[in-house]
């Protein structure tokens, strides 16, 4: 409440006093006209002055008086009065609700108040009141062109802090308001957040402009979900094909390469360019004379991550004339299962460029060496990640290897399919992968990867049948198999099915209580953390923290996923995120060893591709931990928080770590991988699953990251063992962190934009600045974490208010050259 101004020295009051004196003088004037006017003025003045007093003294009972009183314009008693009234209504409402009394009179008042608030720049208060009286629909009648943006902004931001199902309700209203004002991009954004295909369709059917639909398609493609456009959404067949192409991400590679050319980073980089060993003293010349399989494998990954999507590198794609010489050479500098990762790295280098990728991978399909073939299959999957095509090349090529007799080939095919079809809910794949789960003869690793791939394909779908298959597979496992490090992928696959689907998981969670106790808790934690991932649900964070507080006997491993779960749940919004970072510091100090090992990974997830200095310092400290598993996790996480940023400080830390751990092959391998992460896509990529101004969470991206982190919980047997290719799951989260403007024909055009730190404008009146400390660039530009762009020219109008990814620009008809 506003403080009552001190009557003795306020200028305003002085003026009032003078006016009053003037009026008193006038009243004594013989002229009756003047007398009347003066009296009227005095009345207004009195009511104004009373207001200040009333706000503190008399408003307590205002609701009662208001209800019994005469009515009349509610605003005549001023803002403070209305605000006070609103507060009392909320109280009264809950009281009456519990007494089950009628609230009709209250609602009349509410309508008046909401109308008043909405007219007077107090949308937030109107929304608050309506939430209190549970009647948000009223809002629709009162929003208008001037205030709907602020209203919706408040609605969507508050949704993160509301308990279910209120959050959905709020977003529903936001969607409706956006639709009402034909603000389709925002409506689509909300529809995607709600994961409501009906709404998505409605956006398409309501909008008639083809160009805008193209923009919608770009937004859907960034979100990474599969949408089939039908004739209702787009009538014309050719148009539909073109739009479907955009949804299918077929132009992603082109856009990415445009960005790369503009920033002039096309030149391929070698792992040595990343290691920068010459900057380290003493050990510069310590190039080993003999190839080390471990270090070559690390180089393979670094090469793949750094040159991801560029279509060229210096190890794998050297000109094909020299195929017999150099090209094959690097592949064979990797040992056994290392060759799988080497061949698959080709898919990463040619990421999103399906035609070129298949051409390059073709020769490995004819290899008689099983690990190479497995790598080629996996490579096709990686290559097709996020890209859909009518011909379904990945399914056509990999399908026949699912039941190959060699289990490494099988895993390659299964994992490739999981990556290529993540989120597609492809029935054909379900019918071919599900039988593997319940095949008694299948090796455990094949089953684990099949469960994982099914989880990816059906991510967030709550598909009953897939869930059943995985549950049966878990029940069939023997005691010994349950202890295998790879078994953790089964509960994870199950959890992915319910990613972000909150209480939908409950039935399955109930079933998981019947599992063998060895896996039961692990399964519980994984399901809980996946189901509430990205919701920011504080209660669930507390549940998970409670799990971490227990001191267990040796051998129990479920606290790892619990720690990761804290990060998964809390990562959605800034406040919760900071809180989680602080809680994890505590956990680190008091937790058992298996918890300490998971904490760095959780920190890595919280700040993925967002190198916060405090987290960086914590991880740097942990990277020298005496427990080598903690150190490894911290090193990998350093890579994750700096992923795709080229952050010089992290790069320096990792370089020093590489000399600190030069004798320890395992730790050095982790350092190399982290270096690859930091320079991922030469700094053009991000791993953040959040996009569209941090509102939307791409389920496939999160699935990829979470899988990698779960694998990192047992680094020694998975990533440092022979399943290092699980590192490639990260491809699901890899996205260009760009803003690329295209014209109406989808050709890139360069326009000036301002890029600056995003400012939170929720609940601010007027039209506040949305960015601060900006610099002007011309598109395409890179956007770092927490940055936002705005056009610096009036010549064009962007078709989406969220300037990220591909943005279609329309010429401004009102623009005049100066």
């Amino acid at each position: 409440m506003a403080p009552v101004p001190d009557p003795n020295n306020s200028e305003e009051d002085l003026e009032l006093k003078q006016n009053l004196e003037l009026y008193v003088e006038r009243v004594q004037d013989p002229n009756p006209e003047l007398q009347k006017a003066a009296l009227e003025s005095m009345r207004i003045l009195w009511s104004y002055m009373l207001m200040g007093l009333c706000s503190t003294l008399f408003f307590q009972e205002s609701l009662g008086y208001r209800l019994t009183g005469s009515g009349g314009d509610i605003g005549s008693w001023g803002h403070e009065y209305v605000r006070n009234l609103a507060g009392e209504i909320a109280e009264e409402y809950t009281m009456r609700q519990s007494e089950e009394a009628s609230v009709e009179d209250l609602m009349d008042l509410v309508k008046q108040i909401v109308a008043f608030h909405m007219k007077h720049n107090a949308e937030t208060e109107a929304v608050d009141l309506l939430m209190d009286v549970e009647d948000l629909d009223l809002l629709l009648a009162h929003v208008d062109r001037t205030n709907f943006r602020r209203t919706c902004n408040y609605l969507t931001s508050s949704a993160k802090f509301l308990p279910g199902p209120d959050d959905m309700l709020v977003l529903d209203i936001a969607y409706m308001i956006y639709m009402k004002f034909e603000e389709y991009p925002n409506a689509l954004q909300v529809a995607l957040f709600l994961d409501n295909m009906q709404y998505v369709k409605q956006v398409f059917t309501s909008c008639t402009d083809l160009l805008r639909k193209k923009q919608f398609c770009y937004m859907i493609s960034r979100h990474g979900i599969t949408v089939e456009l039908d004739s209702e959404m787009v009538a014309d067949k050719d148009d539909r094909d073109m739009l479907q192409d955009i949804v299918n991400n077929t132009k992603l590679s082109e856009g990415y390469l445009t960005l790369a050319r503009d920033i002039e980073v096309m030149e391929a980089k070698t792992p040595e360019d990343i290691y920068k060993a010459h900057l380290l003293d003493g050990r510069a010349s310590s190039g080993p004379s003999v190839d080390s399989a471990r270090q070559n494998l690390a180089a393979t990954f670094v090469n793949a991550f750094v040159n991801a999507g560029f279509g060229q590198d210096k190890l794998m794609t050297v000109p094909s004339d020299a195929a017999s010489g150099t090209a094959g050479n690097w592949l064979f500098k990797n040992k056994e299962h290392g060759k799988t990762s080497a061949a698959a790295s080709l898919g990463m280098i040619l990421l999103w460029d399906v035609d070129a990728g298949l051409t390059q991978l073709d020769k490995y399909f004819h290899s008689t060496d099983n690990p190479v073939l497995a790598g080629a299959l996996l490579g096709v999957g990686i290559n097709n990640c996020g890209i859909k095509s009518d011909c379904d090349p990945a399914l056509a090529l990999l399908g026949e290897y699912i039941d190959n007799e060699d289990s490494s080939v099988r895993i390659g095919a299964i994992m490739g399919l999981g990556i290529a079809y993540a989120g597609s809910q492809n029935d054909q794949l379900r019918s071919s992968l599900s039988p593997i789960l319940n095949d008694a003869k299948a090796p455990l690793d094949v089953i684990a990867f099949a469960a994982l791939s099914l989880g990816m394909i059906y991510v967030g779908s709550c598909n009953e049948e897939v869930a059943q298959s995985i549950i049966f597979a878990l029940m069939d496992r023997s005691e010994a198999q349950l202890g295998d490090p790879l078994t953790r992928f089964l509960p994870l696959g199950l959890g992915l099915l319910y990613l972000g689907k909150q209480e939908n998981v409950e039935a399955t969670a109930e079933v998981s209580k019947t599992f063998n106790e060895k896996i039961r808790k692990y399964c519980d934690m994984t399901l809980l953390s996946c189901a509430y991932a990205g919701t920011g649900n504080v209660l669930k964070v507390q549940d998970l923290l409670a799990q971490c507080g227990e001191h267990l006997e040796k051998g129990d491993i479920h606290q790892g996923p619990a720690v990761l779960g804290i990060a998964m749940v809390a990562m959605s919004e800034e406040l919760g995120l900071d809180m989680a970072i602080r809680s994890l510091e505590r956990v680190l100090q008091y937790g058992e060893q298996n918890i300490r090992r998971a904490v760095p990974l959780a920190l890595g997830l919280l700040c993925i591709s967002n190198p916060k200095v405090n987290v960086m310092d914590t991880l740097s400290r942990l990277s020298h931990d005496t427990d080598s598993e903690v150190a490894m996790a911290a090193i990998i996480s350093l890579g994750l928080i700096g992923a795709g940023t080229n952050n010089a400080r992290i790069a320096g830390m990792l370089r020093n770590l590489s000399s600190y751990y030069y004798k320890d092959a395992s730790l050095l391998f982790c350092v190399r991988i982290a270096q690859g992460f930091v320079h991922m896509g030469k700094g053009l990529l991000t791993l953040s699953p959040f996009h569209s101004e941090r509102l939307l969470l791409s389920p496939t991206a999160l699935a990829g990251i979470v899988t990698l982190l779960h694998a990192c919980l047992d680094m020694k047997s998975i990533i440092l063992g022979k399943y290092h290719y699980v590192l490639y799951f990260i491809v699901l989260a890899m996205q260009p962190r760009m803003m690329l403007t295209v014209d109406e024909n989808l050709k890139p055009i360069s326009v000036p934009v301002r890029v600056g730190q995003a400012v939170d404008v929720v609940g601010q009146a007027g039209r506040p600045k949305t960015i601060t400390g900006f610099q002007t660039h011309s598109t395409p530009v890179l956007l770092a974490a927490g940055e936002r762009a705005e056009l610096a020219t009036d010549k064009y109008i962007p078709l989406s208010p969220i300037l990220e990814g591909f943005i279609i620009l329309k010429e401004n008809p009102d623009y005049r050259e100066e």
Partner: protein, 481 residues
Amino acid sequence: MLTVSVKWQKKVFEGIEIDVSLPPYVFKAQLYDLTGVPPERQKIMVKGGLLKDDADWSSIGVKDGQKLMMMGTADEIVKAPEKAIVFAEDLPEEEQATNLGYSAGLVNLGNTCYMNSTVQCLKSVPELKSALSNYSLAGRSNDVDQTSHMLTVATRELFGDLDRSVNAVSPTQFWMVLRKKFPQFSQLQNGMHMQQDAEECWTQLLYTLSQSLKAPTSSEDSDAVKALFGVNLRSRVHCQESGEESSETESVYSLKCHISHEVNHLHEGLKHGLKGELEKTSPALGRTAVYLKESLIDSLPRYLTVQFVRFFWKRETNQKAKILRKVDYPLELDIYDLCSEELRKKLEAPRQKLRDEEGKKLGLQTKSSSKDGDVKMTDAEAPSNESGESSTAAQQEGASSSEKGTHMTGIYDLVSVLTHKGRSADSGHYVAWVKQESGKWIQYDDSYPSVQREEDITKLSGGGDWHMAYIIMYKARFVSM
């Protein structure tokens, strides 16, 4: 008859006609004409499946105007290289050692760091290694006693073990023999073996080796150790009182760097060390008189050893106390002005040559000189793997290098430093810092070798409680003419 378009790589072939009555193989043959990809390498993708050669078009359900996708290249299929690649992980332990670029450390057997650091420093001399490898078990000449022989063999074995191993070597055998030969190293204190003076160990060990490595002919020239480390000094001894003057020559294994108040630099210390006063009976005066002895270097060794005289016997405390004074030493030492007149004359031409070469390769000078050194080292090392006469040749080369193509220049490069940390010779800790053939400096702190920066090596010059140089060894720089 259907018309489809086929996408291959980045190209799209429009309007390809399919005769549905013929098997798909015919269609593939059509594509072979267009793309040059042999049918068996073609993979045609139709709605999530591959087109089989003998499939029935009607069951595939290809529609008119459909887009097909083809994958395949005429590229050569990748083959594994004929020669399998050897990975470091597969190698036996001893071969992994060579990959590190430096050899293993030595386990401390209880106050044996003086011995460990001495061994590490001496091991850095490849010529000594090859001389030892030539020393046969049976070839003991009669004038070498049993224990010396055993110590020589033990040294050879230890050097070999160090080169082969990845992990720290335990020098148990060597230590036993050393104590047998020199019982003073077996002193006990509180039931533990005492810390000893590394200089004593160094001198004794080198002396023993020089005795046993003498060729059977026992001529002066064939003394391998002497050829490597021996410095001939020509001294002028004169008595100021009587004006007597005599000259004498002696051979020493190391130069002493005396540390007094004026000495700040190695060079000054060496000069100081070459001048001395001694009391002896003067035949002219018939009593003891003070003689002034001034020495100059008459011949240069391949390896110049300098000992910092940091320890002196302190009567009050009954122990060898240490002078902490900082004495700088350079990475490149020029001892031209410590040489005798004749030697200077001999050095004149090679030095000129060296200057010319360096002038010529300005900017590359260090590289050229180190390359020169490398060649020498490999020359000397190569025979160590073989056996027989070739290593005697290496010895000979060391001894008679001045007659051959290469010449001494009087310029020396630092190759190893033995440091001491602590306040007295019989306590504290000894560590060896050795330059490898690759140019890297390795610190051998007992069983832990670690890489060091060259800048830090010159910081071991004393003046605090950090490691300070006690014995340093320089390697001669040659020039070929």
